[in-house]
Assembly symmetry: C2
Homo-oligomer: 375 residues x 2
């Protein structure tokens, strides 16, 4: 009896201790302290983007901790490994959602001028749509950002950016992790980007390519089916729905397509093979094209320059996909196809894709509508 009371008291104290832990703890100079209450664990590591150190140290109360060097203002993904098992930070509601790999995130705040900082500016709305896809054979979703001031009751129409997520992401990745809505709000408020609609579809032609886990990436046939069916869901299902439900300018010179990683490959495959639909094409850290680009883009040559208002290839310089992207740019050059090749420091991460979107979006739809002689 006494023992069980003592055990209950101990459990309550332990639970209170677990809940008194603050993590992540961001100091004004950008140092981040990660903490985890795990008295019975024998080793705990923290794996945080941009941080080399990982071994955490335990104090007498069973709380493991690690303090980083000062970090640049940014949003960093991290997780703990407790005796070999990955866990989220239980004290932190800011997560990086993903179908295969959920992480925690820490926001080291920076000046209001950073593209992803939420500012007191007019905000757009993010609309979540659901439909039954005849092509993919499943119930699926897509998101639509409408800019501040968008009013379906008014006549004004807007250009549209189709923005595609990467492999293992869900359809919400560009808003909930990439903060595309925040980035657009800020650019529009500063007059640096034209008000635009942004459509963020589910980027899989077949969910089988992701529900089976990373191993499915080795199945080249499945990958091709995925890419081809995705293009059909986008062009035959999502695009007509968006043009019917929103005040879009439904013309190629008011339509852009861009994406990250798998979504970068999808943007190139969809955009460059459908120039009657898109005048602007962007690819951030793209991955998943075939070895022979001429097979992915049959007949693509310099005649495309007359239709392409922008072809923009971006990548992080420490990304494993940097070399293939450079190789693709070399191939474009050999074909005489105009393009921009933009690289910034960074790996295969939203820490690169948020800045790339902030560089790319201001370049869109800057020519006067309706003046395209190539239609």
């Amino acid at each position: 009896m006494k023992l069980s009371v003592a055990l209950i008291a101990l459990n309550i104290a332990a639970s209170a201790l677990a809940q008194s832990v603050t993590s992540p703890d961001v100091a004004p100079d950008g140092r981040v302290t990660f903490r985890l209450w795990a008295p019975r664990a024998t080793s705990v590591q923290v794996h945080c983007e941009g941080v080399k150190a990982s071994e955490m140290e335990k104090n007498d109360a069973g709380v493991w901790s690690l303090t980083t060097e000062p970090l640049q203002p940014d949003i960093y993904a991290y997780s703990f490994t407790v005796d070999g098992v990955k866990t989220l930070d239980p004290r932190n509601p800011l997560i990086k959602y993903n179908l295969l790999n959920i992480d925690s995130q820490v926001h080291v705040p920076g000046p209001a001028s950073l593209p992803w900082e939420v500012n007191d500016v007019p905000h757009g709305v993010v609309h979540h749509h659901f439909y039954k896809s005849a092509i993919a054979g499943d119930e699926r979703d897509y998101y639509v950002y409408t800019p501040p001031g968008y009013d379906p009751a008014q006549a004004r129409r807007y250009p549209v950016l189709y923005l595609l997520h990467g492999y293992s992401d869900a359809a919400d990745a560009w808003t909930s992790v990439g903060l595309a809505n925040v980035i657009l709000d800020n650019l529009i408020a500063r007059g640096e980007a034209r008000p635009m609609i942004v459509v963020m579809p589910l980027g899989y032609g077949t969910m089988e390519v992701v529900t089976g886990g990373w191993g499915r990436l080795r199945n080249r046939n499945l990958w091709q089916t995925n890419l081809e069916k995705f293009q059909k869901t986008l062009l035959d299902e999502v695009l007509p729905r968006v043009d019917a439900a929103y005040k879009t300018e439904p013309r190629r010179e008011d339509r852009a397509i861009a994406g990250l990683s798998m979504g970068g490959a999808e943007s190139l495959l969809t955009g460059l093979n459908s120039l009657n639909q898109f005048a602007y094409v962007g690819a951030f850290s793209s991955g998943g094209l075939g070895a022979d680009f001429s097979k992915d883009f049959p007949g693509l040559d310099k005649s495309a320059n007359a239709k392409l208002r922008l072809l923009w290839i971006g990548c992080g310089e420490q990304d494993g996909l940097f070399a293939p992207n450079q190789r693709f740019c070399d191939w474009l050059t050999a074909q005489g196809i105009h393009h921009a090749w933009v690289h910034i420091p960074g790996q295969h991460s939203f820490r690169v894709w948020r800045p790339l979107l902030a560089k790319f979006a201001p370049l869109l739809f800057q020519e006067a509508s309706g003046s395209d002689p190539n239609l």
Copy 2:
């Protein structure tokens, strides 16, 4: 050199093993097998709603597992505890998001007639809004569900249900966990509920009440400030924005308010004290009213019956808040205030709130609009 190669090979094999684990694994008879790869752990438990067993057993490959008895079709929250540390199921993307306590979820599928099963019926849209609250002093969000067929370009107007989440939830709880949009889609498709707009605001008057953790619940002054400021954000900020942006019927007889737990208390406090704004009031497993109901509802008496088209109190029979809810119903009876008191088996869980919403929504807005003699 050889050793490090062997270690790398071992790590790759281990990682492949971790990724080959299937969890949760739902059998056709409703048995669920939970699995976690944790070869170095000394004890692993799974805590799943509706399941008594928790101790998992390890096999020779370091995979811990537990198989349940057959579970009723439903959506169950669960988590693992590895050597005392709570973790999500790393193999499962279905999570129950929450500001203080993120869990995994397992869906045991059932017949299409269950309110929360996604069916091939017309789907509404969920709109995510962001604004700077002058009352709360922060940037915050709310969600708006528009029913299938809603068209801002047409004249048709819709009644509105304000639907409030519980303590520790974020503004997305009623859609991402409660599946309110799926439930409404299904009810509307079957003709069992009137097409309506559902507004799901952030339910905190001050974020301090939740960012500080569960301990803040003991601070009665902070709790009162939270409840009062929430009502002001709802009535002075969210409601006018919704009536301006959507095709609402902006009248009390076309407006309902309901919520769960803290949101139940907020619905009662807001609705019963603002009968000039709401004709329908619902509270699911409500918690957080004061000890003296006459102080929370000054002047509320049977004269309210003429204005109230529905006052609906629901609760799970195994909920710790069942007794206080029954006591509140007794108080209503003593005041002569008509109400429904609905209880179903279950605890303080979305397993109760999804069915309660499915019972409540069909009762709303069934009287012809504009016929209220009490305006």
